[in-house]
Symmetry: C2
Subunit: 461 residues, 2 copies
């Protein structure tokens, strides 16, 4: 934290981030062009906090901010920036500043920046790097996006199984080119296949003459270089890993992934899931351009437009029934809304369970049975409540009975379809987080309007 | 990974978890009561994988499974179990088995089990522990749930600033009671206040005669013992921490939190957020009892019931307009649905931005301006599309014009209220993830029906 003189106002400020006072002071220094003072204010801040400051500046402020600090720019700030801010900053920085920044980073962090450059600038930057580094990054860029190969760093500590503890410690102390931070040492055979690992804390606890092969853990969770980053995150989470070796198709160790990269991935993937489930998708930050955000939103709303049009068409088929019994017009929305909401509860649970792998193929029928049972209870309760309210309101117990019965059926359908649809969509190889929700509410709308208006037409008119 | 003889069928199985073949073999061994073979099958599995197996067994299978493995039960399995399964297992295990399990765990993991016990069983267990341990756990239990105090482990490595590298390494090698795994060494003053930290990988790289105070990083991100676990997770994520010291009210170091605990918290909190946003809440796993799940679902649906009743009431006020122009009955749902969906997109983005602290008080107007601008574009586009479709469908350009105009206003309202409501709710000290959604859709329903039916009544009837 650094400064503890003033008691912070809220719990937040104790733990992380810049306070609004610091932010205000930075803004003032920027506005009054006192750049020396600005650099002084920033000197005490962690790179993540400087990135946080830049998030809260306007586009113009950010550009003069960059101009002011460019001589003392810490490359670690780049990797902490929000994606939309990073794109802007990379546009502003020139090739020389970028090349300098890249050389100060671990290979995985440098790659993160290179990935984000526009094609033309990326080529220029790669050409300005030393040949050795250029080859490395070009190799990196051949791995698919969001694969383990893009996440890993090439800097690793590998030792042969026949060394002892002391030799290993001496090797670490005497080798200049090691990762900035590492938590495990990998034991490799002569073909460079990993055969074990030693957590660093076990190495320093072991007697000096212990042989590496005796103290290493043979249970290593190797990551194939082409594995998807979501799988990598689930694996780290499942086995509570702090680092894991990455191997190529031949099983040779080519790098390692550390838990900090994975925490990023978890946040990213879950953010993505939340957005997909809420039909928001990418480019929705306040820091993205209006036109881009509107474009994404409209794409999702187009699905909604189709849904509502289908529902409207279904209702229009019952036009004359509604004209004869106008109470139908305000009760029909209850059935559709309740079915949609109950169904979305089920879809959310099932989609999450599929994403976290707590629900698998073999559990399909068990899950459907459970959800249908729950829906039966939920349906009985909600339809009783709503039928009673509708009856008391309209003094028409015929229509309230039909509302209750159609509601039970719609909620039961929501329970069945809400479980079945996501599982089915995943089986087809598509992402249920995107399509299950709109598909389900279309069915609950169609089913809800049809059964309520249909039963009313049959029995009341 | 262990066995690599058979090529795995899917990418999933390469990275983690048990394959369905392994699961089937375990089931067969269990059904045929070949418990020795069962234990043999389990020997090769990581504790997290055994927990995974138990998740997929039925209640009865799980009980005979526990009976079969109880003699060789690995306590680490307990901390990997899903909450609802853990509760069941703790019910089945007797006090002696529990006490044995507790003694084999790190203090934070042991606490996790003790927390989950029913009051009576917890007291019995605490009494069966050695007095020293009992005192420690009783102290632990005085920290609020979901606080840093409950997450931390007491086992830490602390050294004085005047030691050198060699002394520190000798201390680590010669001290028996150290944490199983650690990644940083904390430097403390005589009052036991942390003054610096050394990542273990820096310690082993440093020359033997370097003094601790020269190689330590003074930037330590201490965590107050009462801090909320969500704040802890955000702080770890922000500064990419692997471990952090926990201090009590006097600033004394009392424990440490490691990144694996935090990964759990991140998953837990985000799971909670997703559930709150989707109005599902706790007890929604397939592995929870039907009655419990139904109870939770109904609680949320009660809010929905109120919403739909309000909307129904609004519509009923326009009963005679609908009777005179029945097309209103099927067009009115379009306006309400589009407003609700567009508004939920906004609410989701704002709630997430508040939760991840990318949106702060000072940004309120900037966020509202952005969202209203986006909504203007979205509203213009959607209302043009829908007005054209409605006009072409009904050959009534008056009603389609009114649909278009009311849709623009409703989507604009959704953009404003969708940004303002969550920020306002958070300012009142409540959680916007729970209440912002239903509140917003109630307003878009009421506003949507009123403006569309109202304008139609004024101009068309």
């Amino acid at each position: 934290m650094g400064h503890k003189e003033n008691p912070p106002e809220t719990q937040d400020e104790v733990l992380y981030g810049v306070s609004s006072t610091v932010l205000d002071n930075i803004r003032i220094a920027l506005d009054t062009k006192r750049y020396k003072h600005l650099r002084f204010l920033l000197k005490e801040l962690h790179a993540a906090d400087v990135a946080d400051v830049m998030l809260h500046l306007s586009v113009e402020e950010r550009e003069s901010f960059l101009e002011a600090i460019k001589a003392v720019f810490d490359p670690n700030i780049l990797i902490e920036l929000e994606p939309s801010i990073l794109t802007h900053v990379l546009d502003v920085l020139d090739i020389n500043a970028l090349a300098k920044a890249i050389s100060g980073l671990n290979s995985d962090d440098a790659l993160y920046i290179i990935e984000d450059l526009k094609e033309e600038k990326r080529q220029k930057l790669l050409l300005s790097l030393p040949a050795k580094d250029r080859v490395i990054f070009e190799k990196y860029l051949t791995y698919p996006e969001q694969s383990a190969g893009r996440l890993m760093q090439r800097e690793i500590v590998c030792v042969p199984p026949f060394w002892n503890t002391q030799q290993t410690l001496d090797f670490i102390r005497d080798t200049a080119e090691l990762p900035q931070n590492f938590y495990d040492i990998y034991v490799v055979d002569p073909r460079h296949h990993p055969v074990g690992k030693i957590p660093l804390s076990h190495l320093v606890k072991a007697p000096r003459d212990n042989v590496v092969s005796d103290i290493m853990a043979e249970e290593i969770h190797t990551i194939p270089v082409l594995a998807d980053q979501e799988e990598v995150a689930l694996s780290f989470n499942h086995y509570a890993l702090v680092s894991a070796p990455v191997v190529n198709e031949e099983g040779r160790i080519v790098g390692m992934i550390t838990v900090d990269d994975v925490v990023e991935v978890i946040e990213e993937e879950i953010e993505e899931d939340i957005r997909l489930m809420s039909k928001v998708s990418a480019a929705s930050d306040f820091y993205d351009p209006v036109l881009l955000t509107a474009g994404w939103r409209i794409r999702w709303l187009l699905i909604t437009i189709v849904n509502t049009l289908i529902a409207s068409y279904v209702i229009s088929r019952f036009e004359s029934s509604i004209q004869n019994l106008t109470a139908l017009s305000f009760l029909m929305t209850i059935n559709a809304a309740m079915g949609g909401n109950a169904g979305m509860q089920v879809v959310t649970v099932v989609v999450r369970a599929l994403a976290t792998r707590t629900l698998r193929e073999g559990d399909t029928w068990r899950a459907i049975r459970k959800e249908v049972n729950v829906s039966l209870l939920v349906g009985l309760f909600c339809s009783a409540v709503l039928a009673l309210i509708a009856g008391a309101w309209l003094h028409n117990w015929g229509i309230s009975l039909i509302l209750g019965i159609s509601l039970i059926f719609n909620i039961l359908w929501a329970g069945f379809a809400g479980t079945f649809l996501p599982i089915f969509i995943e089986k087809l190889g598509m992402d249920p987080a995107i399509s299950a929700g709109p598909l389900l509410t279309t069915t609950t709308d169609v089913f809800g309007y049809t059964i309520f208006l249909g039963l009313a037409t049959l029995f009341l008119l």
